[in-house]
Amino acid sequence: MFESLGQKLGKVFTGLRGKGALKEDDVNDAMREIRVALLEADVALPVVKAFIETVKTKAIGQEVIASVTPAQQVVKIVHDALVEMLGSETAELKFTAPPSVYLMVGLQGSGKTTSTAKIARMLSEKQRKKVLMASLDVYRPAAQEQLRQLGAQTDIATLPILAGQKPAEITKRALEAGCLEGFDVVILDTAGRLAIDEEMMAEVALVRDLAKPVETLLVADAMTGQDAVNVAKAFEDKVGLSGIILTRVDGDARGGAALSMKSVTGKPVKFLGTGEKSDALEPFHPDRIAGRILGMGDVVSLVEKAIETVDQNEAEEMARKFQKGQFDFNDLLMQMRQMQKMGGVQSLVKMLPGLGEMASKLDEAGVDDKIIKRQEAIILSMTPQERSKPEILNASRKRRIAEGCGMTVQDVNKLYKQLQQMQTVMKRMKKMGMGKMAGMMQGLMNDKDKEIMAERMQAQGFKGLPGNGGDFLGANPFLKKK
């Protein structure tokens, strides 16, 4: 629906390409586009205004670097300023003498209960903490039961539910259990409440006074609109916050609320909720959200995630094979599985700059995770020999494979063709020094898609896209760690 910011800025700066310093008039025109982009991303208006002023002063008079367009340069300035405002470090959770009390607060339906379980699981799995969860939500039907079930699923203790107790009474009971039973952390999940509901805000303030939490986390939906400033300010004023958890980041909202809330409270966004499962919690990456707010994807997180997910040995082994231009079904299988670990095709595509639209194209083309699962099934019904020597596949082998996985010979042929294409791509990549991720993406795209992608990358190039967009992941991320 919307023209991308890169394209719009490109128009603003036509005629200026590579000429001297950024002029005030041009910058003002560019800032009008930036303003609209930020508002469309749901950044609150007062925050947008303050931000634009800061960036304007930074941009005017800057020399245009020869290798980039003025539009790219402005985007980079804006992007860096966004990252700076969002808070540059990833904040950690604090602990006190046990039990450390965490208080989860927020509007109705923002994701408090799910986030409570996610934090608990993370603390118990990654930091070996003994965690107790208690629900103070005596209002929403079955809210306490929801937390109890999540606890049972994740093997985290929950405070036994006693009918008829008030939030303050439950709080006392939770603190007592926390002390007596030697819990490291007690997480209090509260009922959702409107920031303007004074009675309910007083109730949670009372709980805070009783529990003296070391972390009070505002749980807020990434889809939140302009109201984010009011909500964050009210919770900060009446309860006091130590941080923010931004939920539903796996959706496609641009997430401007993160910037709004950070700037009115000064409190860091500590975590991102990225799915319904209890392990879908990630540390906050300002880069990633900045890219989203601008609608430009996120290269950095993608590369990081790839590095984290891919086993180093596997990666080196594969890199060696690439060098030789070899690529067989075992490699393809491994790639598919790594891709799934990283959240599937769709989420990978979304993280790449300017490919938001591509995601829907892939959807239309039917390239989704289901296809990958089916292709996996085809490979699994091959013999080890067939997997490592694809060229031995003949008609009768193909028929047997197809029968083995309940698919047609055509399906098998398609996969074989894809493998051959990837072998070609790998050979080309070897020359260009591109990462495996890029190969993966290309292998899944037809020529038309590749054209679109190249075009969009040209139009949108920014930080991390050295030069002309050919080598969009910089270098092979799997070899970088050496």
């Binding site: 469309e40 923002s110 302009q226 009210a234 496609d252």
Partner: protein
């Protein structure tokens, strides 16, 4: 076992509205009353309270802008910004202001005249979509309403409120627990079924949502229910597998009767900003949404995004949620909404 009921008794003698508890090991604690549940308060007063809470700031802003003077560019810019803070989005805000200023630029106007005129401009966009939800039974079975939306939007609560309204009108209602995924979703809905005296139809957590809907229709029809409300799990519109699951629910319902579901409601949280556009577009394209419900208008969010939605998608907005209580559901009224949005008291 479906409905957790003895198969043999199931035929005709099945007691209406009495369904065995779904693994009720931990009884729901009794609910302390909260503000939204105050008896004697009318719907209207609560809508007034809710919407006026959210609109006083906007109204004040307009009052600050001018007493009586010429409507100039600066004033218009100020008005546009006020609309942006109400979540209309930059494009829609600009369009509304352009429409509003057309015959008024340079004229002398006072605060109230401005509010009235701006409200008028907005109401004109909203009026065509302010359509009540009609539960007319078009075929023998119950009128089926499928309720969907992103996580936490207010689907389950809205179902409870709709069921209550229907019961008040003397209709017999059944509620099907199509959210088989989220923890305690079935238990939550069951409480609403009990509160409203509705027939509660559920299978075990983890069951296929489509199977729940399919069998619920059979049971509801057998029991001569007027309206069947089907809850679904919250899902983000960009998750194609979850959207496919919802499509399957519909496909399976259509095996009973091609008219099913008679209505598919998308529940939108008024706190949501411009992402509501993507939600409506995707849910409409994928599951043929027939109308919208906008919740949480008792909060400080103004829900202005619906103006852009009305203009772009022309989907009916049937109902609004103005609280967590059983009576906190209102028909959507264009003029009330636009008046509240600009802070106009008539």
């Amino acid at each position: 076992m479906f409905w957790r009921k003895d198969k043999k008794q199931d035929s005709q003698a099945a007691p209406v509205g009495v369904i065995e508890p779904v693994a009720e090991k931990h009884p729901e604690p009794s609910l302390p009353p909260r503000e939204g549940d105050r008896p004697g308060e009318t719907w209207l007063s609560r809508l007034g309270m809710g919407l006026s809470k959210s609109s006083t700031k906007l109204g004040q802003g307009i009052a600050d802008l001018l007493t009586k003077r010429k409507l100039d560019q600066e004033t218009l810019d100020g008005l546009e910004e006020l609309l942006i803070t109400a979540d209309l989005g930059p494009q829609t805000a600009a369009r509304v202001i352009a429409d509003f200023s057309q015959d008024r630029f340079g004229k002398d106007l006072d605060d109230n005249e401005i509010k009235a005129a701006l409200s008028e401009s907005i109401a004109r966009i909203l009026e065509p979509v302010a359509v009540p939800l009609a539960f007319d039974r078009r075929d023998e079975g119950p009128f089926v309403v499928l309720v969907c939306g992103v996580n936490g939007a207010g689907k389950t609560t809205t179902i409870g409120k709709i069921a209550h309204n229907l019961q008040c009108e003397g209709k017999r209602v059944a509620i099907a627990a199509g959210d088989t995924f989220r923890a305690a979703a079935v238990e939550q809905l069951k409480v609403w079924a009990e509160r409203t005296g509705s027939v509660f139809l559920a299978k075990d957590a983890g069951s296929d949502a489509a199977a729940v809907a399919f069998e619920a229709y059979e049971a509801a029809k057998r029991q001569g229910v007027d309206v069947l409300l089907v809850d679904t799990a919250g899902r983000l519109h960009n998750k194609s597998n979850l959207m496919a699951e919802l499509q399957k629910v519909i496909r399976v319902l259509k095996k009973h009767n091609d008219n099913l579901p008679h209505a598919t409601l998308l529940v939108l949280d008024s706190t949501t900003g411009q992402n509501a556009h993507a939600q409506v577009e995707t849910f409409r394209d994928m599951v043929n949404v027939t109308g919208l419900v906008v919740t949480k208008l008792d909060g400080s969010a103004k829900g202005g995004v619906v103006i852009g939605l009305a203009d772009r998608f022309a989907l009916p907005i049937h109902l609004i949620g103005v609280g967590e209580g059983i009576e906190d559901l209102q028909p959507f009224k264009a003029r009330d909404f636009s008046d509240s949005l600009v802070g106009l008291q008539r």
